[in-house]
Structure formats: structure tokens, C-alpha cells
């Protein structure tokens, strides 16, 4: 287990290094000078030079890169070009919003996908199966932002059931979590259904029947345990995608989360904010995969990490 964690930590460090390098140079190659954004269109060349010196973008790219890496190693993400506040503070301020959104969306997708997927498989060819199939097809086909706008139109504008803007109450998160969760749960429904169908044909199900166990017991004690094993891994990846999905959904619902910070960072050519956001997402994604792997090995007695 210790060596497993060490290996994964090493892999994480390597991933972060690669991604940070990629983002760093990509930003320098792309057109757009941060100093121009900071100073505004009417700034003189002298003013721009001064700003470039302050931001450090006048130095050779290699020097900027090394400096940034050294800071990164100390977990110092630098200051925002635009607001001059530490990027770490900016991220920590906005993290709760994004975590709440992604967490809600993820819970929603599991709560829908597991029962629906299992029932679709067990009651194959019945109404519930068709509901499951239609839900997963539609859910995968409909883009989250469109669903978000639709939900806003119906539940906020027309029906007035949920507030339109803001992030100061739980109610504000319901619609965005739905918009974000539906497409992910649509994917999971399929996976749960297929995996359950596969397990239904396994011989141990016949043994359980031959013992005279109730159908519920067979389903929940025997079948589900095995059917959900592959779901653990995929759910971990899905949660990662969901964090990426918050970028668009936060925009649609005007939620002040990480996604909006990231997006405004891109508009403003705010290099430190973009770099830190990308690294943050990469780390979270890797950690989620790691957690999913550990959970998988806990749930599956045949796999022991080590």
C-alpha cells in the first residue's frame, strides 16, 4: 500500500510538471499581451513597459519559467496580473462554490444512475428499461449549458420556484447541479445497466437462487456488489469531468466559482490565474482517480494494491 501511494504520488508530480510546462508555454505562444489588458487600450508604450516589468513578462521566457517552477514548488502560485491578489487566495475563495456544485451534481448523478441502471437491467424490456434507455440517450445528447438555460427559463423565469442569480443559498445550486449532473448520470446509467446485465448471467446468481434467497437479497447483497465495481472507477473519472464542466455551468448560472475565475483569467490574459487553475484541475483529477482506485481495491477482494 505504501509503495502504491508513493508510486501514485510520483506519477502525480510528473503529471503536474508536464501540464504546467505545457500551459506555461502555450500561454506565451498565444497572442495577447497581459500588459495591454491591465493598462487598457489608451496606454502609452512607456506605461506598457513599466507594467511588463512589474508583471515580469519582459524577462526571457526561460527565466520566467524557472522562476515560476521554483515558486510552484513552494506552493506559491503568484499574484493575479489583474487584481494583484494572491492566486491562492482567489482559488480558496471560490473553491467552496465549485465543490458544492460538483458535489451536488455528482450525488445527483449517482442517486439517479444506480437505481435506474440496475432496474433497467433487472427488468429488462419493461417500461423502466425504456425510461432508462431514453434518459441515457437524451442525457448524453443534450449539452449541459442548453439544459441549464432551459431549466432557468422554466423554473426561475416562468415558475419563479428558484432564484435566478446568486450563490448565497442552497436553492441557487439546485438547477446548476441538475444541468451539470444529467449528462454524467446518463453515461453512468448505461454503465450500471451493462454491468448489471453481465452479472445477472453469472453462475453465482443461480447459486444464490438455489439457496432460496429472496430476490431483493440476491439483487442487493449479491448482484449489486459485483455490478458496481466497474462503476467506481468510471464514477471517479466522471467527477473529474464534472469539475471541468463547472466552467460552463457557472457561467450560465453566474455562480462565482473556480470555473468563472478560470474563464475570466483567460479573457484577461491573467497568466498566473490560468496556470494555477489548470494545475488545480489536473491535481484534483489525478487525486480522484487515485481515490477511485483505492476504493476499487477495497470493494474488490480479488484486487489488493501493493
Amino acid at each position: 500500500m505504501v509503495s502504491f501511494v508513493a508510486r501514485r504520488a510520483g506519477r502525480l508530480a510528473l503529471t503536474v510538471l508536464l501540464i504546467s510546462t505545457l500551459v506555461f508555454f502555450l500561454l506565451r505562444v498565444l497572442p495577447g499581451d497581459p500588459a495591454e489588458v491591465v493598462a487598457g487600450v489608451e496606454a502609452s508604450e512607456a506605461e506598457l513597459d513599466e507594467i511588463r516589468t512589474r508583471l515580469g513578462t519582459d524577462r526571457p521566457v526561460a527565466v520566467q519559467y524557472v522562476n515560476w517552477l521554483v515558486d510552484l514548488a513552494r506552493l506559491d502560485f503568484g499574484e493575479s496580473f489583474f487584481s494583484s491578489r494572491p492566486v491562492r487566495v482567489l482559488i480558496l475563495e471560490r473553491l467552496p462554490v465549485t465543490l458544492l456544485l460538483a458535489g451536488l451534481a455528482f450525488s445527483f448523478s449517482l442517486v439517479v444512475a444506480i437505481p435506474l441502471g440496475v432496474m433497467s437491467a433487472v427488468r429488462r424490456g419493461t417500461l423502466i428499461d425504456y425510461v432508462g434507455i431514453v434518459y441515457s440517450q437524451l442525457g448524453m445528447a443534450i449539452p449541459g449549458f442548453w439544459l441549464g438555460i432551459l431549466l432557468l427559463l422554466v423554473f426561475s423565469v416562468k415558475l419563479g420556484l428558484v432564484p435566478l442569480f446568486g450563490a448565497d443559498g442552497f436553492a441557487h445550486f439546485i438547477l446548476p447541479a441538475l444541468a451539470l449532473g444529467v449528462s454524467r448520470s446518463a453515461v453512468l446509467v448505461r454503465i450500471v445497466r451493462n454491468s448489471t446485465l453481465q452479472e445477472l448471467d453469472r453462475e453465482y446468481v443461480l447459486t444464490a437462487e438455489s439457496k432460496g434467497l429472496a430476490e431483493r437479497t440476491i439483487r442487493y447483497r449479491h448482484l449489486l456488489r459485483n455490478a458496481l465495481l466497474p462503476v467506481i472507477t468510471i464514477a471517479g473519472i466522471q467527477l473529474g469531468y464534472m469539475l471541468g464542466g463547472t466552467i460552463i455551468i457557472e457561467q450560465v448560472f453566474s455562480l462565482p466559482g473556480l470555473g468563472r475565475l478560470f474563464l475570466s483569467g483567460i479573457y484577461d490574459r491573467d497568466f498566473p490565474v490560468i496556470q494555477a487553475s489548470v494545475i488545480f484541475l489536473a491535481v484534483v483529477f489525478s487525486l480522484l482517480n487515485f481515490i477511485a482506485d483505492v476504493l476499487y481495491s477495497v470493494a474488490n477482494p480479488r484486487i489488493r494494491v501493493g
Binding site: A208, S210, G212, L213, A214, R221, R225, N226
Partner: protein, 337 residues
Amino acid sequence: MSHSSENSNALLRIIDLSVSFGEGRARLRAVRNVSLDVLDREIHALVGESGAGKSVTARAIPGLWPHTAHLESGAVYYRDTELSSRSREQLRSFRGAKIGMVFQDPGRHLNPSLPMGRQVSEPMEEHLGLSRGAARARALRLLKLVELSDARRVLRSYPHELSGGMKQRALIAMAISCGPGLLIADEPTTALDATVQGQILSLLRRLRDQLDMGILFVSHDFGVVQAVADRISVMYAGGIVESAPAELLFQGPLHPYTDLLISAIPEPHKRGSRLRSVPGAAPDPRLSYSGCPFYARCPLARDICARVAPPLVEHAPGHYAACHFADELRKRDSVHG
């Protein structure tokens, strides 16, 4: 036609059972008018090639036929209770409680994600209303009863941590946990190597004596059956072609198919001699035919065999055979044997 009419106190009684799969032209008749009895404390072996309908028959008893199969005719009695008219759900109180089942390939028939203790205790919690703790204590005794040396460890183990023989013993412990009157063992030794095979067979015999069970023992292997059975019924193409007490059957089979199967048993002292098999294949179970199903492969076949299906007739006390020329075989046996 049933040999069972005199044994009205049979433990298990199958009367004229027919099971088929599919409809219309694709209808596949897997089991054709099978009747057999298992008496108290009897090990009744059902032997035949794969596809002969043995497993379908065995699984039909506690209502576990595949969902695609349907019962065309027949009745199944466990003591005085008719089973075949009951739903799968209604038969639940019989399965595991009064009728235990052991399968081929124990590895696949155990849940890979549940510890053995849980799996062995389950039926006792379900049928005997035992608490978890009480069921676990009994599970430990059961594992010792099936001669698992390190029962405490097995209780905590997952199936993949056990050998094939250990898994089969645990599966047997599970099947007998509620003290069933009947144990259905469907090819219980086929997936095991020869040494373990012998151990499992003697275990089954010992459990029969200790627990007063009848056993329906399904196998394709006449050698295995010889070692364990009190009575043998031979199945061919979905029907029973011969049924007799084991000694009688081995002394003088009255059906040419049985005769061929017995002579095909490899003899350990004749190493190097060729393994014999019965040439040809059973008829397509989708076809209907009027004559003897064994006609095409039978060394004794004559014209009548193609036209008229021979009924299962009692040729000697307790010895039934479905062959027009059973008496010829009998005379030959008495001359040679």
C-alpha cells in the same frame, strides 16, 4: 411406464416431465417424458452425454429452469408436495431448505465479493431464522463437517483464496446447511482433478449416511457414477433409456447405449489401451421423430427401431430399459457373464 408406482413414499418423484425451449419450428425439446424417483437415503445418478437433458431435469425440480424454458407436461413431488405447479417465488421456501444444490465449477458458483462465512450462513438466516452470530457458528461446524481442515480461516476467506476442492466442499456445506432431504449435485466433481474428485465423492456418500439425505447425482461420467450411485438412470436425447440399481446395470445393461457407455469406461489397470467412445451424435433436439432416438448410432438397430419408439419396460425387478431388443442383450449377458 414409470418404475416408481410401487414406491409411493419416494422422497422425490418426477412423473412424465417434459421441458422445451423456444416456440414453433425452433422449439427444442430438452426433456422428454422423464419419470424417476429418488428414495430416502438413495443416491440416484442421472447419466448421459452433454445435451441429454440431465441438468435441465435437475434444475427443473426446485423450479430453477432457465427463464427461456417452459414446462410442457409433468409433475414433480417432493414427498407429498407437488412442486411443478408452483411459481419460482413459491418454491423459494423449498430451495436451500428442503432441496440443496451443488454445481459444477464451484469457483464460478460462489460470489467472488462475499466472504465464505457470509455465503454459507445465508440460507440458515433465511430459512431457519437464525441470527447472524448463530448462523456463523453453525457455518463453522458445517465447514468442519465437510472436512475443511482450517474452517475458521475458510470462514473469513474469499472464494479466490481457496482451492477448487475447498470451494466445492464449501459449496456442499452451503447446500446442506439447512438439513435438506434432497441434495441435487449437478456434475459436482467434473471441474476437479482426479484425487479431489474421489474425496468429494466419498464425502457425499458419508454425508448421505450422516444426514439421511437422498441425492440426485447428475454426471456425464460413468466412472464417477460407478463409485457413488445406488441407482442409475441413463438419459439419451432428453429421455430415460435405462434405469436400474447400480449393480444390476453394471452386470447386465439392457440398452445398447448403456452397454456402449459402460465399455467406454477407462480401466486403470489397462493403461495404454485406447479410450473408446460412442460414435455418432444424438439427434437434433429440434426434430420430432417416431422411432428410437438411438437408432442412428445403435449396433443392434433393425427396421422396427426406425418406426416405433420403444417404451421403458421393466425387464427384471427394478430394471427398466427402452429397447426393443433388451431381452437379446439380457441373454447375451447371461451367457457371457
